[in-house]
């Protein structure tokens, strides 16, 4: 019905335009009474004013008759997230409402257009929402987002058949269904869930291996061995003052020749040397071993140079000067620019009804 009316309106308007065009083309260019195309059209439309307004009236009437009152039964639904609440559509969103609440829908007008009002009352509290948007239009707008579930292929979440088998076994043995067991907590959990027989079996195996190597080493024996060494090394401590004096004199002389200050590593190493000598004199194997480890590390990784760089007089630790000349020079990362025509296909499969 509506289409027919619109077609009739189109025909009438086309006739008027054609007539105005013929009038315009019929008149001569040299005619004194030269009227424009717009003025011809205006006069012809004025002549058929009544006809056009009638058609427009019919169209308007039909449109108002077509609008049915919304079906408010669809505006309430059960909540999927909580059992004690229901969801009510209030125009632009769904809200959660307790099951005991009273919901009242009414059709109203808002700014000349059709609208609906929801009143939600629960005990002494109540709320009123008014909206011109209907559930249908809301759903049509939402369809872009919710229509087809967007299929994302995340590699991490993909479980192969083999992995699935292992997970199944794990769920049967350990009671876990996690794919990645991470963190100490999980490990401890796993260990506590390991059957005792399994643990005993492995303890037995380890003991067998230890037997085949020989007598198992005990912590006490290692300690006694260290003590024996210390008894012999104690005599070395008598040379201690010479060692410390020699190293310090050497370092200071080196600084004198190179025209620098005493480097920080000299202090550190000197202190450690004295501590080491004291430890040998006293008979503390742990301290001597620790200092020996420091010496090996210093030799291997040059720790003293790192100490100099961080705490030395040239380091930023002692730099109190304000920064005036901040480096501004910029060097280009790429010297020549090339256009890369590689096309990278997007990983996301868009829904078929998606319009960009």
């Amino acid at each position: 019905m509506l289409n027919e009316k619109l077609k009739a309106l189109q025909i009438v308007l086309q006739q008027e335009v054609d007539f105005a065009w013929q009038c315009k083309m019929g008149t001569s260019v040299y005619n004194q009474n030269n009227r424009s195309f717009g003025s011809y059209l205006e006069s012809s439309l004025n002549a058929h004013n009544k006809e056009i307004s009638q058609i427009l009236d019919d169209i308007a009437r039909e449109q108002t008759q077509n609008q049915e009152p919304p079906n408010f039964n669809n505006y309430i639904r059960y909540s999927t997230s909580s059992m004690t609440h229901k969801e009510v559509f209030v125009g632009d969103k769904w809200i959660l409402v307790p099951n005991t609440a009273c919901v009242d829908f009414r059709t109203t007008t808002l700014g000349g257009s059709r609208a609906f009002t929801v009143t939600v009352s629960n005990g002494s509290d109540y709320a009123t929402f008014t909206s011109t948007e209907s559930l249908q239009s809301y759903q049509q707008n939402q369809q872009l987002l919710e229509a087809d579930p967007i299929h994302l292929e995340l590699q991490n979440d993909y479980v192969s058949k083999e992995e699935y088998d292992w997970m199944l076994l794990a769920s049967q043995v350990y009671g876990t269904t996690k794919k990645n067991i991470s963190g100490l907590g999980d490990l401890a959990e796993l260990y506590s869930r390991t059957p005792k027989e399994f643990k005993r079996h492995y303890a037995y195996k380890i003991s067998k291996v230890a037997k085949s190597i020989g007598k198992p080493a005990k912590a006490g024996k290692i300690f006694h061995g260290a003590e024996k060494v210390m008894k012999k090394a104690g005599k070395v401590a008598k040379v201690g003052p010479y060692l410390s004096a020699g190293t310090i004199i050497y370092e200071v002389g080196d600084a004198y020749i190179n025209d620098t200050e005493i480097k920080p590593h000299t202090y550190v190493d000197g202190t450690l040397l004295v501590v080491g000598i004291a430890a040998t004199a006293v008979g503390a194997p742990a301290v001597v071993v620790g200092l020996a480890i420091y010496g090996i590390l210093d030799y291997a990784f040059n720790i003293s140079e790192g100490i100099d760089n961080t705490f030395g007089s040239d380091s930023d630790l002692w730099n109190n000067k304000p920064i005036k000349h901040f480096p501004k020079k910029t060097t280009p990362i790429f010297n020549d620019v090339k256009i890369d025509n590689t096309y990278v296909a997007p990983n996301i499969k868009l829904p078929p009804n998606f319009k960009n």
């Binding site: 401590a237 003052p241 410390s244 020699g246 200071v252 200050e261 005493i262 006293v282 503390a284």
Partner: protein, 136 residues
């Protein structure tokens, strides 16, 4: 006066070595006391040697070995005298008897004194070395 200071210092180092030395090696207490007592003197001697001889030796010959050997020669009498003094002092002044009269709190105080003397002399050595370098 000198004797009192000497006795106090020796007692302090004796307390320290009593506290530090491995309990299974009691025969090490007296040697370590002697060593700890003689260490501060050698530290200060090293610093003095650097002040006296650093620029003198290195301006003539840039050989570090000469400097180090000179240092050994300079230190030896100091070390020898200090250790001998400590050895005699322990026997003559009956340090071990004195130690038994001390309470636990006193011992802790003595250990603190020894610590300050030991590391204080170590710091003085570096202070003297820095002076020797800067007075070039």
């Amino acid at each position: 006066m000198f004797k009192q200071i000497f006795q106090k210092l020796l007692l302090a180092f004796y307390c320290t070595s009593k506290w530090l030395v491995n309990k299974k090696m009691p025969e090490k207490i007296i040697p370590s006391t002697i060593l700890f007592f003689s260490f501060p003197f050698t530290f200060i001697a090293t610093g003095l040697y650097l002040i006296l001889a650093l620029s003198l030796i290195l301006s003539n010959s840039k050989n570090l070995a000469v400097l180090v050997i000179g240092g050994f020669i300079f230190i030896t009498p100091v070390y020898y005298l200090a250790s001998k003094m400590a050895k005699k002092g322990i026997v003559k002044l009956d340090i071990s008897k004195h130690y038994k009269t001390l309470t636990k709190n006193d011992r802790v105080n003595k250990i603190t004194l020894a610590f300050i003397v030991f590391w204080g002399s170590f710091i003085i050595q570096f202070w003297l070395a820095n002076m020797a370098l800067s007075s070039k």
